[in-house]
Every structure is written in structure tokens, then in C-alpha cells.
């Protein structure tokens, strides 16, 4: 990497770093693991910077691979999740403007009940706003798989007690917003 490329890399991270860190947090469903995955993604991106045509797509693919690799390595069991603890922190329906620190543990706990592949599809599709075709290309699966997996994952998420509480709270907030808009 020469200095010009180094500046371009810094610029890319300045523009996309926050989104990548947030993606990593959602993909790993853990803030600490997300930071690690983010850091590792940057390293791999920097190492290949001069040969990467599309850093946005490359970084997402690499991040997904890192998350999958580590999930396999850890053989994490979804049974370890403590949804109740997160939910007991306070009734999320009480607040109209639920803050990040309140939403995060509940949402991440719910995301942890998905498989890494389901999580990747839901996160890329709805957080990263990628089309079904884009997600399919990024993850190397068919668009049909993206569609069906996303639908199964949504159905699964709706059944999570923590997330359904949040969904209900936000649902009513959104409906109000929609109505008075």
C-alpha cells in the first residue's frame, strides 16, 4: 500500500467504519465480538486494498466469513442466551424513544437465537438495506434462499419474547407516527 492508497483506505474507513462496526455487532450479536470482527475485517481489507475493486462488498463478505469461522470455532450454543434478563431490565413498551443501550441487549439476544447465516441475511437485508439479489451475491447463495431464510428468520424473531415486546412498542410508535405524519 503506498501513501495514496493508504489515504484512500483511511477515507474509506472514515466513511464506512461506523456502519461496518455496527454491522459486525449485529452479525456477531455481541458488542465485544463485533469489535474484534470489525478489526479483523479492516486488517484483511488493508492487506488486499490495492487489489480490491469493491471495498464495500469485499468488507461485507470478509466480515461474514470471519463471523462464520469464529462461530464455528466457538460452537456457541443458543441455549446460553438469557433473554429474560435482558427483558427484565425494564418494559421497553414504556418508552416511546427507546435508547440504544436499552434496545441493544434485547435485540442482540434475539439475534443470537438465529443461525449465523440467518443473522447475516436479516442484517444485510434490513440493516444494510441490500436487495435480495445483492445479499445472495454477497453470501454466495441463491436469491430464493435469501427470501426463504429471511422469512423464516423473521418468523423466528417474532416468537422471541424480548423482541416481540420491542416490536410491539415500536410498532405502536410507528403507527402513531404514520398516522400523524
Amino acid at each position: 500500500m503506498d501513501r495514496k492508497q493508504e489515504r484512500a483506505f483511511e477515507e474509506f474507513v472514515a466513511q464506512s467504519g461506523d456502519v461496518l462496526l455496527r454491522l459486525a455487532t449485529l452479525l456477531t450479536s455481541d458488542q465485544g465480538l463485533g469489535e474484534d470482527a470489525y478489526q479483523e475485517t479492516l486488517h484483511r481489507l488493508a492487506a488486499r486494498w490495492s487489489r480490491v475493486d469493491n471495498p464495500q462488498a469485499f468488507s461485507r463478505r470478509v466480515m461474514h466469513n470471519i463471523v462464520i469461522d469464529r462461530a464455528r470455532a466457538r460452537q456457541r450454543r443458543p441455549a446460553e442466551i438469557r433473554l429474560v434478563d435482558a427483558h427484565d431490565d425494564g418494559d421497553p413498551r414504556a418508552a416511546d424513544t427507546t435508547s440504544a443501550v436499552e434496545v441493544r441487549p434485547v435485540l442482540l439476544a434475539a439475534l443470537r437465537t438465529l443461525t449465523p447465516q440467518q443473522r447475516a441475511i436479516v442484517v444485510l437485508r434490513y440493516f444494510d438495506d441490500r436487495s435480495e439479489n445483492e445479499v445472495a451475491e454477497l453470501l454466495g447463495v441463491s436469491p430464493g434462499t435469501v427470501k426463504s431464510t429471511a422469512s423464516r428468520a423473521m418468523a423466528h424473531l417474532r416468537q422471541q419474547p424480548g423482541i416481540s415486546g420491542l416490536l410491539a412498542a415500536t410498532d405502536s410508535t410507528m403507527k402513531r407516527k404514520v398516522r400523524y405524519a
Partner: protein, 340 residues
């Protein structure tokens, strides 16, 4: 109403992460690793680590300030354990003396031949292996130069080829004048390395804060400034010193002083009787990972104090290694040895 759920999930995911900001230190760390690569435009490398077999070993205890601290468990253990005395310091001072007694040859260009191998198991095209020789020609006056490489890449997409000649712009490597301007007293050098590291961190922190303030303005609410990795002075000094040792064109005085700085840095390990990846005898210098989870190992020639191999191990399977086969000096740029 699945549509509503998806929109709401979208909103929840955005809200759950809106206070997360990427630490600038992460970029600095990625670039620091790349700067190690930049001088030779290297392609990363791996080799079987030969670090396992240490005959004599030592570690400076944290908090001793580099001074000797008698240890009850401590002297000359017979095997692989780390002797908690000043064995590390003895080895580092020995390297310092060896470096001071080894003159730097004359010649404008440093010609460095390396063997590089890289295995990246998690790339977008699956496992990628890059291997081959590389010769870097560094102009010690301008800091520019050229790299010739015969690297073979193999991954799921076949065997893409890498360019065999890469030009490095002026200033890519430190010039000899810049290196020779560094202090060579251990205390002054430590201060200079620390100041350099702190400057980098301050720049990173400033940039993070600016970003948070801008985001606060946009969101209309107060946000917490994300914390930076907490690195001790010793972490910083070791990182900078290890990077500098990796430079091939140090004066004997500077290389000698760097070993003395390491000898005064708690937590530094020195293992003698190990071999580098090509089987040459070496002294291995290392320090447990900083908070980023990274470990730098450098293998030094016990006779000349020159670096023979330098490796960087990150979390997961990330691992790079440079194995120096030959370092020479010339007054003219040699032709590409891998052509044809």
C-alpha cells in the same frame, strides 16, 4: 403484517447500534501492520513457527521497570518455562553488543531478499495461499525503490498472478537520514518512541471526538465518546521498537539502542536457542499481546544482532511472517531476478 415487522426490525437494528462508533485506533492498527508491509509492498507471509523450542528463556516481570527482581521460583529452569529473572535482559544486552559491533555496509541501495508465504483461511474466495520469493531494493536516500516478486497465489478462483515488479514512491521507507536522526541513548530513544506513539494515539482520539460531536449535532442528543484500547507505555514502546527493528537499514548505534530499550521494557521475553523458519539459530523476542490481541515476534541473529524473521499474529488465524534470506548493499539497482 410482515412488512411492518421488517421495517420495525430495520429501525430497531439502527437504533440498537446508533451509539457505536468505529474506534480510530482500529484504522491506525490496520495501517501500522500495513506500514510494516509498505516498504517492501509485501504480500504477507507465513511459515511454520519454530518458536516452540527454547533452551534459555527470560521474561521481564511487569512492573519492575526493567530492573531485576529476584524470584523465588526463579533461576535457571531446565526446560521450556520462562525464567523470571533477568535472562531476557542478558540476552537483549548481548544482542545490543552484537549489533553495535556489526558495521553497516556502504551502498546507496539496500537489497533485501525474503521468502514469503501467506495463508488466509477466511478470504472471500475461501482459503488463499500466497507464496514465493521477494527482493526489495530500498533507496536509502529517497526512501523509494522497487520490489521484485515471484509470488504464486492459489485460491478457489485458480491461480491469479501478482505483478512481478512494484515501484515504491519516495518516502515509502524511512530514509537513512531520518533513521540516523533518532536518538541512540536508550532513555532518549524510549522517550522518542513513546512520543511518536502518543502522537499517533492523540491524532486518532481527536478524530473520534470530532466524529462523535458531529453525530451528536445530527441526532440532537448527547453520545458517549467511544473508549480507545488502553495501552500502557510499555505496550507502546514495544510496538514501536519492534517495528523499527524490522527496518533493515538501521545504524549499529540505533539497533544497539533499540535492544537496550527493550531490555528496560517489562514483559519483554527473549528466548535463545530457537531457530527461525529456515532453521538458522536465533534469539526470539516477544511480548504478550496488547489489548488488541496482537503479538509481534522477532527472531534476531545472535551473532550480528540483525533481524532474521519478523512475524505478526492477530486474533483468529491471521498471521504474517517475513523471513529475511539476505540483506546486501549496492550502488546500482539490480535487475529483476524473477523475470523470465
Amino acid at each position: 403484517m410482515p412488512d411492518i415487522d421488517e421495517d420495525i426490525l430495520r429501525q430497531l437494528m439502527a437504533r440498537a447500534t446508533e451509539d457505536l462508533f468505529a474506534p480510530r485506533a482500529a484504522v491506525a492498527q490496520a495501517l501500522r501492520r500495513q506500514r510494516r508491509h509498505r516498504a517492501r509492498v509485501r504480500v504477507t507471509a507465513v511459515a511454520g513457527t519454530a518458536a516452540a523450542a527454547g533452551l534459555a528463556a527470560g521474561v521481564l516481570l511487569p512492573g519492575t521497570g526493567g530492573g531485576a527482581r529476584p524470584s523465588s521460583s526463579g533461576t535457571a529452569s531446565s526446560g521450556t518455562g520462562h525464567v523470571q529473572l533477568t535472562a531476557a535482559q542478558r540476552e537483549l544486552f548481548s544482542l545490543s553488543a552484537a549489533a553495535a559491533a556489526t558495521p553497516r555496509p556502504d551502498g546507496r541501495y539496500v537489497v533485501l531478499t525474503e521468502q514469503t508465504t501467506s495463508i488466509d483461511s477466511g478470504g472471500p474466495s475461501g482459503a488463499t495461499r500466497e507464496t514465493g520469493p521477494k527482493t526489495s531494493v530500498i533507496d536509502t536516500i529517497t526512501g523509494g525503490g522497487v520490489t521484485y516478486q515471484g509470488i504464486t497465489v492459489t485460491n478457489a478462483n485458480g491461480t491469479p498472478t501478482l505483478p512481478s515488479v512494484l515501484q515504491a514512491a519516495n518516502g515509502t521507507s524511512p530514509t537513512r537520514a531520518q533513521l540516523d536522526a533518532m536518538p541512540t541513548g536508550p532513555a532518549a530513544l524510549r522517550s522518542a518512541l513513546l512520543a511518536q506513539a502518543r502522537r499517533q494515539i492523540a491524532q486518532a482520539q481527536q478524530s473520534v471526538e470530532q466524529k462523535v460531536r458531529a453525530e451528536e449535532k445530527q441526532l440532537g442528543k448527547k453520545l458517549a465518546t467511544p473508549s480507545q484500547p488502553r495501552l500502557s507505555d510499555d505496550d507502546l514502546v514495544f510496538g514501536q521498537a519492534a517495528d523499527m527493528l524490522w527496518q533493515p537499514d538501521l545504524s549499529p548505534a540505533l539497533r544497539s539502542a533499540l535492544y537496550k530499550v527493550l531490555a528496560a521494557t517489562p514483559g519483554v521475553r527473549a528466548q535463545t536457542g530457537v531457530a527461525d523458519s529456515s532453521g538458522r539459530p536465533a534469539t526470539l523476542i516477544s511480548r504478550p499481546a496488547d489489548s488488541g490481541g496482537y503479538t509481534v515476534n522477532t527472531y534476531e541473529d545472535p551473532v550480528t544482532g540483525a533481524t532474521r524473521e519478523s512475524s505478526w499474529a492477530g486474533p483468529g488465524r491471521s498471521f504474517d511472517e517475513d523471513l529475511y534470506l539476505h540483506i546486501g548493499y549496492t550502488d546500482t539497482i539490480p535487475p529483476n531476478p524473477y523475470k523470465g
